[in-house]
């Protein structure tokens, strides 16, 4: 790996109100997988957006294949062979898989789409990402999130691609899908394609990347060969300071049972789920994507209808038909997708924090007491260390971690006894994750019962007092802290796929 690099970036500058990239240097060789790591706000996404022509830099120079490179649009970048697969899904659900992959270059004759040709090409592209069994004419909306992500990648790969940018490509993928993706990446590598791999997931980076570049506050901190650095060192470089050790301290004394779920069935994803959580306990729910974890939480909360089953709070049965019932009974849900289901993005932090408790911030006749609102919002923003200009700042301008804290603040203001967290640290940076872990432990110490769904095993294992593993809508296994290992949990998560179906349908 020497000679002329595929991409050389020198002194790149970009600022919105504050600098997001300053004097950033970067090099990528042909056939190299180069990981970009850093906290949210470090500048990774901005760099990726500049490379793919979505934003233009304020200063600096980029050379691609030895020639000066300054794309003015995504099309421009794609023409040069720089293709980005976005973290956020871009799939149009009503169009077919094939139409999605080839949307900007549909084969046509006289304005008519040649579907035979299109589906044939799509089939090839799908085969390449290991989805050859899918019918290219299926509407993309019928696929799960993981498959949609792979379809975007298939779209990228089906173009003339010299530099591929992957932004958190595995966020929605299950393990076998990740393997498939890695196979693809290795294939591309062999063809000499340079790959920039943006991710928070250290284990994946260590498996797939050749080099790692650490960004912090828009600056280039260091570039390492992947085998010459440990995760701890990396985290230290990203954070700029040592992260406190996040191991829970000793045995906890748990209170009485707070929430009991009996034989819950809902939709086709939740089949007979039963468990209980005690006051002061953190119950982790592990399982593959699509195993029914999110659906279980939503059904308990009344966000989706239940087919059957019982919910008991402090041993007393409660009827929960809607989130209104759930909240009145003292159950809160912090949803998986905060932008879709949690936040009022264009509204200020204050409005977002008090949304669930407006009646308490109002006098008789429903007049809002703005002083009380400001006070509540100040208290929780401080307690959760929300980093913001003021509580009047629109939530949409905050980073993912701070947005999540605002959602949590709303529930703290509501003071629910049972809190259901669905992927509480999804897409947020290491330092903010740590604040959220501390917070969850603090809530448990205060006697609240917590249920946490997470795809990150390490996270679950460090947080939970007990872990249940879901598979195909059922609870496949339950582990206490002394019993679990990553291997056991993973095995349980896959258990439903190992045994023969039909035997378990009784």
């Amino acid at each position: 790996m020497s000679a002329v690099p595929l991409l050389r970036v020198t002194g790149l500058e970009k600022s919105y109100n504050v600098p997001v990239l300053s004097d950033f240097n970067f090099e990528l060789q042909c056939g190299e997988v180069h990981a970009l790591v850093g906290s949210n706000g470090a500048g990774k996404s901005t760099f990726a957006r500049i490379l793919s022509g979505l934003t233009s830099p304020d200063g600096g120079e980029m050379q691609f294949n030895g020639r000066s490179y300054a794309p003015t649009s995504k099309r421009d970048a794609e023409h040069a062979g720089v293709i980005m697969v976005l973290q956020e899904l871009n799939v149009i659900g009503t169009l077919s898989i094939a139409e999605n992959i080839f949307l900007n270059r549909l084969p046509q004759r006289g304005g008519m789409i040649r579907y035979a040709d299109l589906n044939e090409k799509a089939h090839q592209a799908l085969t390449r990402v290991g989805l050859g069994e899918l019918d290219p004419a299926t509407p993309a909306g019928q696929l799960g999130v993981g498959h949609q992500q792979l379809i975007e990648i298939a779209g990228a790969l089906s173009q003339n691609c010299h530099l591929l940018i992957l932004d958190e490509p595995t966020a929605a993928l299950t393990d076998p899908e990740i393997e498939q993706l890695f196979d693809n990446i290795r294939k591309l590598q062999a063809e000499g394609v340079g790959i920039i791999y943006v991710s928070h997931r250290m284990d994946e980076i260590r498996r797939i990347a050749n080099r790692i570049t650490v960004l912090r506050d828009g600056r280039h901190i260091a570039t390492h060969n992947v085998d010459e650095i440990t995760p701890t060192e990396l985290i230290r470089e990203m954070a700029g300071h040592d992260l406190p050790n996040s191991k829970p301290a000793g045995e906890k004394s748990l209170g009485p049972v707070a929430l009991t779920v009996r034989n819950l069935r809902a939709g086709n994803r939740v089949n007979d789920v039963s468990f209980e959580v005690r006051q002061g306990e953190i119950l982790g729910i592990a399982g593959l994507i699509g195993s029914g974890r999110t659906e279980t939480l939503r059904a308990i909360f009344g966000a989706d209808p239940k087919a059957s089953g019982e919910i008991l709070l402090q041993g007393r049965p409660v009827v929960i038909r809607s989130p209104v019932d759930a909240v009145r009974a003292g159950i809160g849900l912090i949803p998986e997708d905060r932008k879709q289901d949690g936040l009022l993005l264009s509204q200020p932090i204050r409005v977002n924090t008090t949304l669930g408790t407006l009646e308490r911030h109002a006098g008789s006749g429903g007049w809002l007491d703005s002083d009380a609102e400001v006070k509540t919002s100040d208290i929780f923003c401080q307690q959760l260390q929300v980093r913001c200009a003021s509580i009047e700042q629109p939530v949409g301008e905050l980073s993912g971690g701070n947005q999540q804290k605002v959602v949590i603040a709303r529930w703290l203001a509501r003071d629910c006894g049972v809190l259901l967290f669905d992927e509480p640290t999804r897409g947020i940076d290491v330092a903010a994750k740590d604040t959220i872990y501390q917070l969850l432990r603090g809530l448990a110490r205060d006697g609240k019962a917590l249920v946490v769904v997470s795809s990150e095993l390490i996270e679950l294992m460090s947080l939970s007092d007990r872990i249940i593993v879901m598979c195909e809508g059922r609870i496949a296994a339950e582990f206490s802290a002394s019993e679990w290992t990553q291997e056991k949990i993973t095995q349980a998560a896959f258990s439903g796929f190992m045994t023969e179906k039909g035997a378990s349908s009784s």
Partner: protein
């Protein structure tokens, strides 16, 4: 208590309206006279109260196309009640508003409880109410005369009519409800992200139904104003009024996508539309020319508003929605 940011927004609209007044003042010698303003003030009450209600409907991301027809129906009811049934004016007004409320509640219940887009439901109501207006009046215009005209005649010594004062009160109360009450906050929240509201343990349906019901009630009030100004009830009253009302709301900067809006600025929108109409008439513009100019002003105002929000750094502005790919709304990291 008006927040500084809001005050700037109001001031901007006020300046635009004053600019328009001055422009017509320069183009026509007769424009800058007391008479012009008195005429203006007494022409707008019906549109103003309906536009105030329409603002709330647009804020929750809905729309109501039936307001013109409901106004026609309610106006007709006033005529029938006074002329055929010899009821008192107050009774007639009350019945008329109750009918408006019923029509609005129907719109709200059907669209919210059955999940049918308000565009379609109110399009249906547009036909239903108009048809009922013809049925009630036998398609005849009824002359009523002094029994109703008092509401729209200038109060002696004050130059403006009681109707105008009521409309002003509706605007002020509407703004206060929107920005200072739990109900108003729910409306903004529902318009911004209804899903998030629901998952916060709030049932958005009652507030949504109430907003349509309220607009129905205000359409009934508009019908009373309209009848009072004409001195007669006309089953054809208010044809196309829904479009003027939506235009006024949009000129006032309320987002058609929901989640953002101001009743006070809607009032300025009403003033701008009425001033344009009066001013253009005074400088001798023909009816077709008036429509062309009004149309251009509506589009221009929306572009200006989008541009202003773009400049203000809002990441959710209309312009960005229109001119960039979806992912660019993502806040920069």
């Amino acid at each position: 208590m008006i927040k500084p940011k809001k005050f700037v927004e109001y001031a901007a609209m006020l300046i635009i309206w004053l600019g328009l007044v001055l422009l017509f003042g320069m183009l026509s010698h007769n424009f800058l006279s007391t008479r012009t303003f008195v005429t203006l003030a007494n022409r707008i009450p019906a549109l103003a109260v309906i536009a105030a209600g329409m603002t709330l409907v647009l804020i929750i991301g809905g729309i109501d196309l039936s307001v013109g027809s409901v106004l026609g129906l309610c106006g007709s009811v006033v005529g029938v009640a006074l002329v055929d049934h010899h009821l008192s004016f107050w009774m007639a007004a009350l019945i008329s508003m109750a009918i408006g409320l019923a029509a609005g509640t129907f719109n709200g219940l059907i669209s919210v409880c059955l999940g049918i887009p308000s565009f379609i439901v109110t399009l249906g109501m547009l036909e239903i109410a108009r048809g009922l207006a013809y049925l009630t009046t036998n398609s005849q215009t009824k002359y009523i005369g002094s029994a109703v005209e008092g509401l729209s005649e200038p109060i002696s010594g004050l130059a403006v009519s009681p109707a105008f004062l009521i409309a002003l009160a509706v605007i002020v109360v509407g703004q206060i409800v929107l920005s200072r009450t739990v109900f108003g906050r729910y409306l903004v929240a529902i318009g911004t992200n209804e899903n998030a509201v629901r998952l916060s343990g709030i049932n958005p349906k009652p507030a949504k139904i109430a907003v349509f019901a309220l607009l129905g009630l205000l359409s009934g009030l508009g019908g009373v104003f309209y009848t009072s100004r004409l001195g007669s009830s006309d089953p054809n009253a208010g044809v196309g009024l829904e479009l003027s009302a939506i235009a006024a709301v949009v000129i006032g900067g309320t987002s058609l996508m929901g989640g953002r809006g101001s009743v006070i600025n809607t009032f300025f929108g009403v003033l701008i539309i009425a001033t344009l109409s009066a001013g253009l008439a005074q400088i001798g513009a023909s009816e077709p020319v008036k429509r062309v100019v009004t149309g251009m002003v509506i589009v221009g105002a929306v572009i200006l508003d989008a541009w202003r929000h773009h400049l203000a750094g809002s990441k959710f502005s209309l312009l960005k929605k229109l001119f960039s790919r979806p992912q660019s709304q993502k806040p920069s990291h």
